[in-house]
């Protein structure tokens, strides 16, 4: 029993360690005071952290740079401040005058790693850090979206422009087919749920991003753990990378600072669909009629006197889209207080955020409250909490793949058809609803309640040895109430209503024993062991009502027919882990870590998984032969290798052969086979190696970070297709493999860094090559099976007919005959591209002169393909009798000699132009989605302290900002950042009546009291 031995050993260490604890010496001594200044400008530095070396006792400097604290006479004080080199001074000769030197090297910053912190110098992993302040005023609801373009190798793209909606985020590509590809988010030590709880069907779109429950303004820093050495400590949850979110905390000895931050923004759609007008549409329809062999005298748009619908030029044009898109407002208010005494520190933040969607009628708002408290009970014992409460409200509406969505109902109906019937009622055509009916009557209300809370106890057993126990809860609750009145299709025939309650709860208990020692100047060791117990429960209840007495009674209680259902699922995870970092002269560093996880989702024999990793770092720059070159201020080589696991995204009981209830008939209970058993089901695991280089040259003005990685995920948790004659379509098996290889580069240039002018630029770019290495059989997915997973190809590959051109003589589309059998069949469908960019990245630039600051961020992607379903539907050649045309249809072939890629209008299936075997699944609608976007551009002014003081303020900054000011892209749709069927696994870059990313103008102020 290997596992229980390991468990016992760890338990002994935890428990045994506690028994041998003895109270350590407390630090007291005479008062030492002094002043801290900037070495260059000699101006006092407020807020510098002063700590008695080897203890937790400390303070921070006041507004004038003064400090005073008790320190042992022979002791040393450590001074640290963001942007400055750490300095150590002997606590002798009060008052001390300490001058800190600006530190241009971000290489020396402290990085939060799994369960510990580490100096970047000794880091052997690939970890990107993003400071909270660089993100906080971007007008987006959730923190993950803010990472866009800021961290190399992290691909972030909003699925749509709906506020609070889903986000596509991949750290170093996609590892998995069926299991989740989303990273693990850890907020102040709490593993948080990232399951969308909204049950209202909105058209294949993930309608809620659970991370939108976090207020970005509360965030101190985000660390993205990318390689296996960094993530293996998270074992089975680390394969997709880990995002550690650290929120703001008070500092010891800080005077309470009150900060008020607000902004207001106005957003608009940057682009609009170009539809064929009424007369154009009628011309196209007449042409289609004649091409189909119709009698020209009977063409549909002929004079009314001749029995037609009027001549083309007599057709009116109705612009429905102008009713849908609006100038949407965003507002954000945030008030925070931070400070602390030597014993107790606190951060309290309260925020309100409201954002309207540019497409009516959706909106999102959030109240959030955060309390972070830390208290030193004794010198050894420290307790504290990080607690966040949020209440969100979404007014959701369907779009995307949904004929009764708002955009669909405005975009697809023919432009010559009136919006209202002659009697004034809403006119509806084909499958579509009336857009105004939807805008005025949609009543889908989703209210989320979120509590993410952690309490911890830290006990210092010995010098350098700390035991920590923490208890956490992530409570996520979504309560939805929808009422569809009789004016909209969903409410037919007499009103319908739904009510959904979903509750996703994670309980977490964790113990860690952390040991840190510097043996002498040369050797230092950091070691950690711990265990985690985790339980997740997901419950859903739904109620539906049909047939209401009228449109004013909207609760299900009034419905004539009431039906309901509920479900519950549960999973547990038990883990033990340990890691150690040894560093010699901060020159050579070795890391080793291992985690053992047991998941309830797998059979007894396969439930334990072991996830080890090692990392090595060599600071070449410290070697004399490099120092002598006098080029590098830092030069470090890193390498790591490790294994992580994944079990997210499969059902809680995926290993069992099950029969499910609910297969009812005649209102009698029925059961039916649900899934096949697979007792051998086990972890999906990812092996990853990473080599990296960090360098600083030109007096640390230019920093380079380089990573190359190679990931291989095997034992994919895959829905392996089984012959359907078995009565099943698939079974979950560990089968298949996916690889991701890539390179990441980040360059940071500090052009100017003086007291008056600071100017720096960070540029990052990454390339990831994704490949399905092994697959039992090709798997198709998404609407119309447009995506196909196939061995040797990347995920998110488009499976379409390749149009070679339009025959200039006949006007018929020509397609590649892949198997050369002379006829067009499904065998001629092929993979014609994929949704992965060849490379992607971002640029951020900040420039400050005296009180002014100017910044911008760009992000870009190159080479990703997008399937433009709006063209698929609206360039239909006449095959869709209820759908209008995009103006693009006017470029169709008309007469011999015309050279175009839009074939002749016809509904004749034999031509395969728009219907037939091809069903319009032609790659003529697959487009290049490359883009370069000005994500933000901001100009701010910080009022001089003296002026602010006259207004009794400690600080004041005002700014204006533009977001998504412009986007350079060859893509013809509204926005290249699009993922309309985010709710469907293994699909990406699918554009279908989706809300685009808005262009936003913003003004804001940050006031310190």
């Amino acid at each position: 029993m290997k596992t229980s031995t390991l468990r016992r050993a760890l338990l002994f260490l935890l428990w045994g360690g506690a028994i041998t604890a003895s109270p350590a010496q407390s630090n007291t001594g005479p008062l030492v005071s002094g002043t801290v200044t900037d070495a260059a400008s000699h101006t006092p530095l407020p807020g510098v952290t002063v700590i008695v070396k080897g203890s937790s006792a400390g303070t921070t400097t006041d507004a004038n740079g003064h400090f005073s604290l008790a320190a042992p006479t022979e002791g040393a004080l450590e001074f640290s401040y963001v942007g400055y080199a750490k300095q150590e001074v002997l606590a002798a000769g009060s008052p001390l005058a300490v001058a800190l030197r600006p530190d241009l090297q971000q290489l020396s910053e402290v990085v939060v790693t799994g369960y510990s912190e580490q100096n970047r110098k000794t880091l052997t992993s690939a970890i990107s850090s993003v400071r909270g302040e660089t993100l906080q005023n971007i007008p987006a609801a959730s923190p993950d979206q803010l990472l866009q373009g800021h961290a190399p190798g992290v691909q972030v793209s909003a699925n749509s422009g709906v506020p609070g909606g889903g986000i596509f985020i991949r750290i170093r590509g996609s590892n998995s087919v069926n299991a989740s590809n989303d990273p693990l988010y850890v907020v102040d030590g709490v593993f948080i749920n990232n399951t969308n709880l909204i049950a209202t069907g909105l058209g294949n779109q993930v309608s809620a991003n659970p991370l939108a429950d976090l207020n970005p303004q509360d965030i101190e820093s985000l660390e993205i753990l990318k390689d296996a050495n960094a993530t293996a400590i998270y074992g089975s949850r680390g394969a997709n990378g880990v995002v550690l979110i650290t929120t703001k905390r008070g500092k010891a000895g800080d005077k309470t600072r009150l900060t008020f931050n607000t902004y207001h923004a106005w957003s608009k759609a940057p682009k609009q669909y170009q539809l064929a007008s009424g007369p154009e549409l009628a011309t196209l329809e007449n042409e289609r009629f004649i091409n189909d062999g119709g009698d020209p005298t009977l063409r549909p748009y002929r004079p009314v006197a001749a029995g037609g619908r009027g001549r083309p030029e007599e057709q009116p044009t109705y612009d429905r889209l102008q009713d849908v898109f609006r100038t949407a407002a965003t507002q954000s208010y945030e008030l925070s207080a931070a400070g602390g005494s030597a014993k107790t520190q606190f951060y309290i933040g309260a925020g309100y955020f409201r954002q309207e969607s540019i497409a009516r009628p959706s909106a999102f708002d959030r109240f959030s409250l955060r309390v972070n408290l830390d208290n030193s009970v004794t010198e050894q014992l420290r307790i504290g909490t990080s607690t966040a409460l949020a209440r969100t409200r979404r007014n959701v509406s369907s779009n995307d793949n949904n004929p009764v969505g708002v955009i669909n109902s405005a975009l697809f109906p023919r432009t010559n058809l009136p919006v209202f019937n002659p009697d004034g009622t809403y006119a509806k055509y084909g499958s579509f609803d009336n857009h105004l009916a939807l805008i005025n009557n949609l009543n889908n209300d989703a209210v989320g309640t979120r509590v993410i809370s952690n309490v911890y106890v830290d006990y210092k057993l010995l010098k350098g040895l700390t035991l920590r126990s923490s208890w956490s809860i992530d409570f996520n609750d979504m309560y939805e109430n929808n009422f569809n009145n009789t004016l909209i299709l969903a409410g037919q025939p007499r009103g319908t209503a739904n009510s959904f309650l979903a509750r996703d709860i994670t309980l977490l208990n964790e113990q860690t024993l952390n040991y840190s020692i510097d043996f002498d100047e040369n050797h230092s060791l950091q070691a950690l062991i711990g265990n985690t117990l985790q339980r997740n429960t997901l419950q859903r209840t739904s109620l539906a009502g049909q047939q209401f007495p009228g449109n004013d009674l909207t609760t299900i209680a009034s419905a004539a027919t009431q039906t309901g259902s509920s479900s519950r699922s549960e999973a547990g995870l038990v883990s033990f882990f340990g890691k150690a970092t040894y560093s010699f002269r901060q020159r050579y560093t070795a890391d080793v870590s291992v985690r053992a996880d047991a998941s309830s989702r797998f059979g007894r024999a396969n439930r334990w998984g072991y996830f080890p990793a090692v990392g090595l770092g060599w600071r070449l720059g410290e070697e004399n032969f490099v120092k002598d070159l006098n080029i590098f201020q830092e030069l470090k080589l890193r390498g790591s290798l490790g294994k992580t696991g994944n079990q997210a995204g499969i059902s809680d009981f995926a290993a069992l052969g099950l029969v499910q209830g609910g297969a009812n008939y005649l209102d009698l209970p029925g059961t039916a086979p649900l899934q096949l058993a697979n007792p051998n089901l086990s972890w999906e695991s990812t092996r990853q190696w990473n080599v990296g280089l960090d360098a600083a040259v030109l007096h640390s003005r230019l920093l380079l970070e380089l990573n190359y990685y190679d990931k291989y995920t095997s034992g994919l948790l895959l829905n392996v297709p089984v012959p359907r004659k078995t009565g099943f379509a698939s079974v979950v098996e560990n089968y298949g493999a996916v690889s991701n290889r890539g390179v990441e580069v980040q360059l940071t240039a500090t052009w100017l860094k003086s007291a008056a002018v600071q100017w720096s630029t960070t540029f990052n770019v990454a390339r990831n090559v994704n490949r399905i290495e092994k697959l039992a059989a090709p798997i198709t997915t998404g609407s119309r099976d447009i995506f196909r997973l196939q061995e040797g190809a990347p995920l998110y590959s488009f499976w379409l007919y390749h149009q070679t051109g339009v025959n200039p003589e006949t006007g018929d589309a020509q397609y590649q005959d892949v198997n050369g059998d002379g006829q067009l069949t499904v065998a001629d469908r092929q993979l014609v591209g994929n949704a992965w960019p060849n490379y992607f990245g971002g640029v951020s630039n900040s420039f400050a002169y005296k009180g002014f600051d100017l910044g911008f961020t760009l992000n870009f992607e190159q080479g990703a393909k997008i399937m433009n379903m709006n063209r698929f539907f609206l360039v239909h050649g006449g095959t869709q009798s209820n759908i209008g045309y995009l103006a693009e249809q006017l470029n169709r072939w008309q007469r011999p000699g015309d050279v175009t890629d839009i074939p002749r209008l016809t509904t004749n299936p034999a031509s395969n132009n728009y219907g037939g075997v091809v069903q319009n699944l032609s790659d003529r609608y697959l487009e290049d989605g490359s883009f370069l976007r000005v994500r933000t551009l901001s100009l701010g002014y910080t009022v001089p302290t003296a002026v602010a003081a006259q207004a009794h303020l400690s600080s004041l900054r005002v700014y204006v900002q533009a977001a998504n000011l412009f986007t350079i892209t060859p893509y013809s749709g509204l926005d290249p950042e699009v993922n309309s069927q985010s709710g469907v696994a293994n699909t990406k870059n699918f554009d279908w009546a989706t809300v685009p990313q808005p262009r936003t103008f913003q003004v804001g102020a940050t006031v310190g009291f």
Binding site: W15, N509, V574, L656, N664, L676, V826, R829
Partner: protein
């Protein structure tokens, strides 16, 4: 104070560790509360009943939308008026092997087969005093009947198919089992129907299988196999049964509360187990999606007093944007959502017998049967005098009698007239393609030629 805190802290740690190790097993072995392990699915009377009901549910699943669509949409009565290309392909008789509706129907059919196989395998060995022998026979008979129905539909849709007859526990079930011939498939249907007929009760329930349902399906099977005498025999059993008679007017069989005396087997829906078929037929002004629209020729036929008669009730109309729009109204219960799926009706038995008799040379009998159906619809009696005229008259009668049910396409394929009537001259297109994805998953499976 300090000491107390230390002790509290360590006590907490100790508690966590102890709880942790004992809680581990609980954490790691949660029991599903809404599913049953597959091997505990049929263990007593209650679970046997539920498992049988579950098979009806699967048959309901493919008869709600997919199977009627595959029956009427390739025919010439209805055109597709929506946006989903898989329907458009069916309408244009241009099926390809990646058609998602074909894949879905194929999957649902085999789900029904597997459900039935589970009951067929478990019931004979089950002994529960609460399950009387009569009921046990009934449940078993129902499973045989539903399996027969599924294999019959598979056969007339795709031709010969793999005949899986044991419940699936692992994905290897049926490994190496290739497609059988259509004759073998129909032989299996016959074998199951024979079993069903002997086991089922002889009562007049219309939404669960009884002896009469098995006989009616058997009459149809013999018709498809051109076994005219058997077809006549079995159809006669239904026609002469006191439990069944045509209801008048035509609309009566599809009027709530349904289960009319004409109905031999229909799948009942209710508001909690809703049939949303109406949604595909109603114009959006009435809350539907108007995916299926009767074509002008069919509207003319149905409205013709000499052809459609009171079958004009299959149509309704409304005014949209000032224009009159006609739509199909067979599935009309938009509020109650309880339109049944019609599987076997007595009118069909009359037309089966008429055709069988015409083939057997009993023209008078054939004409009489045909005119029973016409008489009920309120149209003048047919005067067809030759066998050929009679057969054509029967074919045309079926077109209007089952205008929106799962019949027209299969009927024309059966008689070999799909080329003449629908213009689908490539006979390879008279069967559906085997789903492309299943060919890849099942190496033993062969595609129908031409796809």
């Amino acid at each position: 104070m300090k000491q107390i805190l230390f002790r509290l802290f360590f006590a907490g740690q100790a508690a966590a560790v102890v709880l942790g190790s004992s809680a581990c097993n609980k954490l790691l072995d949660p029991t599903p509360v809404q599913q049953l392990p597959a091997d505990e699915a049929i263990t007593d009377a209650g679970s046997a009943r539920s498992a049988t009901i579950g098979v009806y549910d699967r048959v309901q699943a493919y008869y709600q939308l997919n199977w009627p669509v595959l029956g009427f949409l390739p025919g010439e009565n209805v055109r597709f008026n929506g946006t989903l290309n898989q329907f458009l392909q069916i309408d244009q008789n241009q099926l390809s092997a990646d058609n998602v509706l074909i894949t879905e129907a194929w999957t649902q059919l085999y789900q029904a087969v597997n459900g039935a196989n589970n009951v067929v395998a478990a019931l004979p060995g089950l002994s529960d005093p609460l399950l009387p022998a009569a009921e046990k026979n009934q449940l078993l008979g129902e499973a045989y009947f539903l399996r027969a129905l599924a294999y019959f539909d598979l056969g007339r849709g795709w031709g010969g198919v793999p005949l899986v007859l044991t419940p699936t526990r692992t994905k290897e079930n049926g490994q190496g089992l290739r497609r059988s011939t259509l004759a073998k498939t129909y032989d299996q249907v016959l074998a199951d129907l024979t079993q069903a007929e002997s086991l089922l009760p002889d009562i007049a329930t219309r939404n669960r299988a009884v002896k009469a349902s098995a006989r009616a399906l058997r009459a149809r099977l013999h018709l498809y196999r051109q076994q005219w005498a058997d077809a006549e025999t079995y159809a006669s059993q239904l026609i002469s049964s006191p439990n069944y008679s045509l209801v008048s007017p035509y609309r009566a069989f599809s009027t709530a509360p349904f289960l009319s005396r004409e109905s031999i087997f229909e799948l009942t829906f209710s508001n909690a187990d809703a049939n949303l078929m109406w949604n595909n037929w109603f114009p959006s002004a009435l809350g539907g999606q108007f995916n299926f629209q009767p074509v002008p020729a069919a509207i003319a036929l149905l409205n013709d007093p000499a052809v459609g008669g009171n079958r004009a009730a299959l149509l309704a109309s409304t005014v949209i944007g000032g224009a009159n729009v006609t739509y199909g109204n067979l599935y009309s219960r938009s509020a109650q959502r309880d339109d049944p799926s019609y599987v076997l009706r007595l009118a069909e038995q009359y037309l089966i017998r008429a055709e069988a008799r015409a083939r057997l040379g009993n023209l008078t009998g054939a004409l009489a049967d045909l005119n029973v159906v016409r008489g009920r619809a309120g149209v003048p009696a047919s005067t067809a005098a030759t066998a050929a005229d009679l057969l054509l008259a029967i074919e045309n009668e079926r077109r209007v009698e089952f205008a929106f049910e799962a019949d027209r396409w299969f009927d024309l394929v059966r008689t070999g007239r799909a080329g003449t009537v629908l213009g689908v001259t490539d006979q390879r297109r008279w069967v559906f393609p085997i789903p492309f994805n299943d060919l890849v998953a099942d190496p033993g499976l062969e595609q129908n030629p031409g796809y």
